[in-house]
């Protein structure tokens, strides 16, 4: 028995080493996944990782990879911890990683300076450092379809279109008191001055995520006309329950796209009716590409989802959309370089020239799934629009078309912030963009 076990273990070890060597031989497209299925934020990290992994697995099963080259993707558990995220990066970058999707603003901030050194781009899709949208200053970082600042400006624009405008109103901003939550504050302060509304900032520490009594008492005291939330993990359902508790009008409470998942609203259920949030991709499985994911991956037992009902949720589709953008950037890179097996530098080119138009989305089986993305050398954030969704007590309902950001106000602020980041870093790699 022992002999059998030993032989088995040796066989497994050999098989593993063969797989690793095939990766290093460069006959595949290696995409490491920095995921978090454990820890306080696992509720959000798990569906994202599932959606991301399942789409790539579907491409392997259906098409044999991208451009005929198989995709190799393995997960490294970060627990949403920046230090562990960097450890994952260091452990996987030598395997020929094409791109990193950190799924944490904290990890993104750590990886941004490493990207130009190791020549592996960082793609923080709809999160991370907003200033990284300025392609001239951050050639190796991408954050489309929209930066946090774009997203905030779209939400403010939405509020401005309601109830006679935002001027003279009071806006409460409740946020997770970490790098992610604080990221849009400079723009919020700027917009409040320019547009004439008052801001009440309400931080929620990680320890207080599930104990927000004080924060919502403060909301009751201040009586803001609108509430905006920049939350994540357990902070979201707790905030929504607390808002219902103090009878805050739910249709005046708007979350960003990390505060608008199914897991955030289900605990509140009917009490959360009317709550709004931003989003970047549709929910549901009524798309040919998602049907293929079900057919080639989920039904074959190759997915980590527990059952079919977990496919098509807000965060699952968000992770899937991220994988779509990565896959399309690889295709673009293959086309531009003429190579099937690409490098991190080629991938950067692919990400920078990505044109995920409505027509292309339809072609890949995702018609009207998301608003188009068009990147350029200058603009790594795309400056894309968001759409609003609203909780009807049981499910999310899309309630608006694309709301474009206030590009005129945001772009200048982003450039200023990018200049500030680069200042004092003489070795920082920048690029010149024509036109």
């Amino acid at each position: 028995m022992f002999k059998k076990l030993t032989t088995g273990a040796v066989a497994v070890a050999l098989a593993a080493s063969v797989q690793i060597s095939s990766v290093s031989a460069g006959e595949s497209l290696y995409i490491p996944q920095l995921s978090y299925r454990t820890g306080p934020f696992a509720g959000g990290g798990t569906p994202i990782a599932n959606g991301f992994g399942d789409y790539l697995a579907m491409l392997n099963a259906r098409d044999g990879g991208i451009g005929g080259v198989p995709i190799v993707s393995d997960e490294c558990e970060t627990g949403y911890n920046s230090q562990k995220g960097v450890e994952c990066y260091e452990a996987t970058k030598g395997k020929g990683a094409l791109v990193y999707n950190p799924y944490s603003t904290g990890i993104t901030l750590q990886l941004i300076p490493k990207a130009p050194v190791d020549k592996i781009p960082v793609f923080s899709m709809g999160y991370g450092l907003s200033a990284a949208a300025i392609g001239e200053k951050f050639p190796w970082t991408f954050n489309y379809p929209a930066t946090y600042w774009d997203q905030l400006s779209s939400i403010i624009k939405f509020i401005d279109s309601q109830d006679g405008g935002i001027k003279g109103k009071k806006v409460g901003f409740i946020y997770l008191d970490v790098g992610y939550g604080k990221e849009p504050i400079p723009l919020l302060d700027q917009l409040s001055k320019e547009m004439g509304f008052k801001v009440v900032k309400i931080p929620v520490g990680v320890k207080e995520m599930q104990s927000q009594g004080s924060q919502w008492l403060k909301v009751r005291k201040e009586r803001p006309d609108w509430m905006i939330m920049w939350g994540w993990g357990s902070m979201n359902p707790t905030a929504i329950k607390e808002a219902a508790k103090i009878r805050y009008p739910m249709d005046h409470f708007i979350g960003n796209w990390w505060s608008g998942a199914d897991v955030d609203l289900r605990p509140a259920g009917a009490a959360g009716k009317g709550y709004r949030s931003a989003n970047m991709a549709a929910s549901g499985t009524d798309f040919p590409a998602l049907q293929d994911v079900l057919k080639y991956v989920v039904d074959k037992g190759k997915s980590q989802v527990k059952d079919r009902s977990q496919v098509g949720t807000v965060l699952y589709n968000r992770g899937l959309y991220n994988a779509v953008a990565v896959a399309e950037a690889i295709r673009t890179a293959q086309k531009l370089t003429g190579k099937k097996v690409i490098t991190g530098a080629d991938m950067r080119l692919g990400l920078e020239n990505l044109d995920l138009s409505a027509a292309r989305l339809k072609e890949i089986g995702l018609p009207n799934f998301a608003l188009p993305i068009k990147a350029s050398c200058k603009n790594h954030g795309s400056g894309g629009a968001i759409f609003m969704q609203q909780w009807d007590g049981k499910k999310w309902v899309k309630t608006s078309d694309g709301i474009t950001p206030m590009t005129d106000r945001v772009r200048a602020a982003l450039e200023k912030a990018a200049d500030k980041y680069v200042a004092g870093k003489p070795d920082w790699v920048t690029q010149k963009c024509g036109g």
């Binding site: 299925r37 696992a42 900032k201 320890k207 004080s214 009751r220 329950k241 009878r247």
Partner: protein
């Protein structure tokens, strides 16, 4: 001048001008304080029996609540799931005693503390392996716990009392009183105190250390389950709940690690203190003061009573 006004005058003007809101703040402080007391009690019980700060108490809260919800989701009726969850906590207590504590009799406290850190990681892994990392809703209504709220109009204002909060206070009070009675008025309680003082001496007078440890860990498991149900009903059940348990640390510093009344009074002082300070003075410091203010209260008390409010004064002669 504005700062001084906001510090010494403004908050009190607010309190008197909107007394209904002050009542709401005090009620929230009371509910939170009661729940803090309950969490702190779990720590106190184990500290009294083994002289060790049980680092795993937080994850025990999560693990017990996840067991309850997980069993219900697997088709077990709610009350049976509750009973089974109690059973699982009993098994855990026996397992901890057999596999961990029994091998550490008379070891330095720090070794026991390290063992609880190991246990904590084991339970996190086991919990995630069995139940997954997703957030789950507490089965509040299925357990017969009340939902909804009642509104009062004191001083012409609004005071909203959530029924689940009232239930939390009542259950916590009953549990705290029951455990306080059990551990102070029964033979086991006296044996517990003997074990806390000296393992070898307790063994020499015929106290079964193993039995006491298993009982105490089981009691701490029950407290963890009650905390998990109540806190889970107020927000949800996720692994983030284990962080809430750390809020009990300043309560323990304040009340003393060995005192059940200390855990109760400490919890209430921290509960009232942090809510009042966050709501009326928090803005002066940019908000988010709740995270550290509890430690400030604890430190102030420590200046005058280093052993905590009700802690045993340790006199060691050289």
């Amino acid at each position: 001048m504005d700062f001084l006004y906001s510090l010494f005058v403004g908050p009190f003007v607010d309190m008197f001008s909107t007394p209904d809101f002050l009542l709401q703040v005090l009620w929230e402080g009371f509910v939170t304080g009661t729940l803090y007391s309950l969490i702190a009690l779990g720590f106190v019980l184990i500290f009294k029996a083994s002289g060790v700060f049980n680092f795993a108490q937080g994850i025990m809260v999560v693990f017990s609540a996840l067991t309850l919800v997980g069993l219900y989701q697997a088709g077990v009726p709610a009350y049976l799931a509750l009973l089974l969850a109690v059973g699982v906590m009993a098994l855990l207590a026996i397992g901890v005693e057999r596999l961990v504590l029994r091998h550490m009799v008379n070891q330095p406290d720090i070794i026991l503390f390290m063992a609880t850190i190991g246990l904590s990681y084991f339970l996190i892994g086991l919990g995630e392996f069995i139940f997954g990392g997703e957030t789950k809703s507490m089965i509040t209504e299925q357990l017969g716990l009340p939902t909804g709220s009642t509104t009062f109009a004191p001083f012409g204002g609004v005071l909203i009392l959530q029924h689940i909060d009232i239930a939390a206070v009542v259950i916590a009070a009953v549990l705290v009183a029951g455990l306080a009675f059990f551990f102070s008025k029964t033979r086991i309680g006296r044996a517990l105190r003997a074990v806390a003082d000296d393992h070898q001496a307790a063994l020499s007078v015929g106290i079964s250390l193993n039995q006491i440890w298993a009982i105490v860990w089981f009691a701490a498991g029950i407290v963890a389950l009650a905390t998990g149900i109540m806190w889970g009903a107020r927000s949800d059940v996720s692994f983030a709940l284990q962080i809430v348990a750390l809020k009990a640390l300043p309560v323990l510093i304040l009340g003393g690690f060995t005192s059940i009344p200390g855990a109760i009074v400490g919890g209430l002082i921290i509960g009232f203190g942090e809510k009042l300070f966050e709501v009326y003075w928090g803005g002066l410091l940019g908000g988010g003061v709740e995270g550290w203010f509890a430690y400030v209260i604890a430190l102030i008390f420590l200046l005058f009573r280093p052993q905590g409010l009700f802690g045993d004064k340790i006199i060691e002669r050289v």
